[in-house]
Symmetry: none
Subunit: 402 residues, 2 copies
Amino acid sequence: MGWTGQLPDALTSETGGKIILLVADGLGGLPHPETGLTELETAKTPNLDALVTEGSTGLHVPIAPGLTPGSGPAHMGLFGYDPVEYLIGRGVLEALGIGFDLREGDVAVRINFATVDADGNITDRRAGRIPNEVCEELSARLDTIELPGVELFFRPVKEHRAALVLRGDGLAGDLNDTDPQATGVPPLPVTAQCPEEERTAELLNTFVAKAREMLTDQPKANAITLRGIAERTRIPTFGERFKLRAAAIAGYPMYRGVAGLVGMDVLPIASTPEAMATMLKENWNDYNFFFMHYKYTDSTGEDGNFDAKVKATEEFDTVVPGVRAVNPDVLLVTGDHSTPSALASHSWHPVPVAILSAAIRRDANTTFGETACLTGSLGRMRAVDLMPLMLSHAGRLAKFGA
Amino acid sequence: MGWTGQLPDALTSETGGKIILLVADGLGGLPHPETGLTELETAKTPNLDALVTEGSTGLHVPIAPGLTPGSGPAHMGLFGYDPVEYLIGRGVLEALGIGFDLREGDVAVRINFATVDADGNITDRRAGRIPNEVCEELSARLDTIELPGVELFFRPVKEHRAALVLRGDGLAGDLNDTDPQATGVPPLPVTAQCPEEERTAELLNTFVAKAREMLTDQPKANAITLRGIAERTRIPTFGERFKLRAAAIAGYPMYRGVAGLVGMDVLPIASTPEAMATMLKENWNDYNFFFMHYKYTDSTGEDGNFDAKVKATEEFDTVVPGVRAVNPDVLLVTGDHSTPSALASHSWHPVPVAILSAAIRRDANTTFGETACLTGSLGRMRAVDLMPLMLSHAGRLAKFGA
């Protein structure tokens, strides 16, 4: 069994130093073929380099070697939750991603608008990627559907994508997708696998039928399919696990949502370096843990734009002075995963880590980069091991055993 | 629970690049006392060095730090099967090692010819290490024994060692050894620990008694003892786990056997660099994963012959051009474990790894060796983590979670 990252409750302390976890989304990269330097190694990052010079460095593996994490699991790992044990359902992440205020017990579903023919067979699984405006109009229409004994929320996401949330007692998640992943066949029904799932399956099938009736006037989006049906289950909160009062400073719904899921207070939106620094300063006295999220190192990597990711990394560097200005006892800077612009996607590559605190074991590194971090004094660890490390540096973790 | 190396089925893809896992058995070594260089570091390996220069390096730990693996567990790890969970019985490995076509449900047993006195007490547990010819003659004799309801195969191995296989329905493995590990006492009976084992125990005890009758004319090998009684159990195949069509290119029965055990197609014997390259080229279009095994780096290490291991390593180096000639999407070169000639045996030391692929994070290494690999960009991982890494580099592993 070994070490799962689950700290015995008696180890964590109510008192101790204040911690900032500063995350540049998708921070890790791959070398440019001409220079041999990654985005991070190419960027001019004087503030990060100063931090590295005074601090300790290393690398983290988000889930396991070779595994590419989605944003949900990657952040759960950073927050100290084993991402395999605490796997967040896709419907839940979709709802969080649009900023929906999902509550415990809610069941969330990813929706595709689709086109079916007169026989009910799917001819286009994405309804010709209808424009956002049509998605919004039809979502408002389906939001008026009523089902017995549950509240219902139907929200547009983008193009043919939408989200459905059911709220009420005794609902079940983890039901099958109705998207058959093929055309020329009808959508599948939702099928209960056990008695506890029967009511949810029936409600969802009724919803699909009513939606069909309300969409008969549509040339393209005349049906819906359901995917990733998932319940927002009870997760032990960050406060319970680590005895911290935690706040999240982030601009994007998904990351705000995941922070909220583990019980952090989600502060008003702040996505630029200035706004992030101001938000931190204004709330510094009210919390002892801050998760701060910077997005654009990921989105530029996803775009496959090396130069833009370099620029975003340089902008991220300017977040650092404002963060150091509050004088945290522990500052850890890392990414949630790598997003190399060479791959234009998330990847499995380890992610640079730098930590600054009184009790660090320094190393020889003076710049922040993937290659330098290979020889850092933190070594290489799983993302889930970073929380205990931060807690210990903050004097918040007692001795294990006598 | 943490990560066990078991990939969720939905992550692996039917499509993607082609992978070669090239294994030099017992690759890792220890430094020569005069030069401070290991066998691998002493050998002239221009092809491996070129691969390292273009690729990424690191080290793998076959099972866990400090644990020396046998050939079976070491290869199960390389194949992505937790070697502790998928422990192959010793009888099974003995039968595979002589190239016996072991089938699911077969029970295999390691046999020692032994000498007993008139009272039935063992006087020599190895029957004076009878010559191979005697072993062969007596094995043919015992192969004629008949038991009710099962097929029986008795095969010579070497000197006093042989293998017995029972084939039939409802047999049980995991029964006790009959070798008492002492002289002056009789062999132990096979004793069933549960009703399911009773028939197998009875069959084996009957076999031992009949063997005694047939060996009364022998001055030395007048009895047998049984060890490592093991069933060939059902193992999820490589194809099931990784959605790969896999072929094994190897010269030695043991490695061919373990590859077959996980469901790889075992191609005709090829053990020289030329034969291995030709076999690969001829079968390249029919598979998307190749396991290629080179033996002599291990056997020379087992002999305690530093210079011979250096020579074998140099011969292994000449396998590389033929392998690169087919232009695999991912090429990973490593050993199954270390076999330092200083120890003349397998050892627990981590094993050098080099990988070549489009999506690698390069490092500064330009030679393949234990010390250089310490600072490689792959870092250090368990053997069981190599398969996910190869799959990801081949674009065959989807994102974990959304």
